[in-house]
Symmetry: C2
Amino acid sequence: MATIKDVAGAAGVSVATVSRVLNDNGYVHKETRIRVMAAMEKLNYYPNEVARSLYKRESRLIGLLLPDITNPFFPQLARGAEDELNREGYRLIFGNSDEELNKELEYLQTFKQNHVAGIIAATNYPHLEEYSGIDQPVVFLDRTPEGAPSVSSDGHTGGKLAAEAIVHGKSKHITLLKGPAHLPTAQDRFHGALEVLQQAGVDFQIIETASFSFKDAQALAKELFVLYPETDGVIASNDIQAAAVLHEALRHGKKVPEDIQIIGYDDIPQSELLFPPLSTIKQPAYDMGKEAAKLLLSIIKKQPLAETAIQMPVMYIRRNTTRKEENDA
Amino acid sequence: MATIKDVAGAAGVSVATVSRVLNDNGYVHKETRIRVMAAMEKLNYYPNEVARSLYKRESRLIGLLLPDITNPFFPQLARGAEDELNREGYRLIFGNSDEELNKELEYLQTFKQNHVAGIIAATNYPHLEEYSGIDQPVVFLDRTPEGAPSVSSDGHTGGKLAAEAIVHGKSKHITLLKGPAHLPTAQDRFHGALEVLQQAGVDFQIIETASFSFKDAQALAKELFVLYPETDGVIASNDIQAAAVLHEALRHGKKVPEDIQIIGYDDIPQSELLFPPLSTIKQPAYDMGKEAAKLLLSIIKKQPLAETAIQMPVMYIRRNTTRKEENDA
């Protein structure tokens, strides 16, 4: 591969002159400039990506910030974004913030410093000053601030659908898992479910949960049946929690859904493999990632936007951990 | 934040001169250079990361290539690498090759062009020319070539342990799932298991599997009980396959492990949440990622290396889908 030295040699100028042509700064005589550019073309010399992105301030790289890659929901989002971006000739690099502000700031800095063309951020901190001071377009995904370009799903409706499924299936002693207080998405679905339970006038209690981790889900499921052994309906805050509750219910010899109904949230690929397969609220994770990528590309290409805050529909998927509604066919 | 123009103004020189100082190319008078550097220090001006990595050819960025982020095994690897790298002040960016050569090459190019300090590659193509022509140190993870720095786990022994568990639990009609033919890791465990089954002289058959995807796992599990309804022991090629087989066995009304034993491979976090919880061969995914990061950092820092091909031990985790060996306590 040709180097900058080869170009300088072929054009009969110094490396510094080639560099000035590339940089487009400092005086270079017009004829010299043409000679340098001809040499570059002849030698098939392209300044590397860094040099190009440095001087032209553009790249085909998109940064994606995810809060937790070990939660199967997020790799699905990522795959959707990735497929769409690849189709359009962009590449996606990921950073995993692990829900830590510090790491998120570091990745933002990394993305900016490497001059990504745009950022897709699934962040817990959409109101960070760092997002408003950013040169590159940002699309928020899943966890979104008002007024900014974003793709999310309708968590409030999702929570309502989950609670309705449990209420219609005639559970009498319902336990509602609140989900981490610091995650707005978890709180949206919680409030949706709460609204339905209050209106239905059923007996229910709430357990607060610290995180979405596997370890916490297991501990929570054990605690649930100690605190509320009469529970006959559980509205979980995500599928991992629901899987842990299902496990614990079966371990206690309960029949699902006859003795106890359980509903999850997300519809991660694993949920269909559980036995009985898990009823859940489907978030269209892959499509959400895809839409976020489309929106970001439209912004990068300065295309007119139909809408900038896209909310995707959620859907109740009845499998075998909830009972059929009486008016079902 | 100060810009290059501010520095030029403060030093009383042109932007091109500041640029030459930064680039360390082209003639700059010593006194001028000192004046520029003093101005940079006074204004707290640091050339951005790209500029620095361009000229100094170093960065604190590590590229990690993963074959499939939707397989929960790989996010665990990534988390291990990430924690170790963060501890040492490096940042990790991910690329997901989706098991496609094309995408892998593109990510390698992206990593190189952005001057990462090193690369950790979980690749299906460790013998690619692109890996030998690379300036940055590369550590291969999980899927490894001979002679190169690498971290893997002992798949052959893992396969043997899996088959021994099923044989010792007295299954009579065993089905061995072969795993994707193009994945050396899957083939290692397959050959280990095959060796044990042949030596034991038990009745067994083999089913070939095309991929590790959820969809394929479900189809495969259904096919298994159609082709070999008398199967009373299944050695799966990974935990996702095993989960699908467990699901299908329970759906057929079989008791696990009384009627049929099932063993997985990997020990992804989900496996403990299945019911009955899945017996499996544990690969220390998180620690493998951590070791790969340590090895890479040692190479980057030019530290003496004790060993460059690290093979981590695997372990049989008996949960409730395999029977106790007769000589167990």
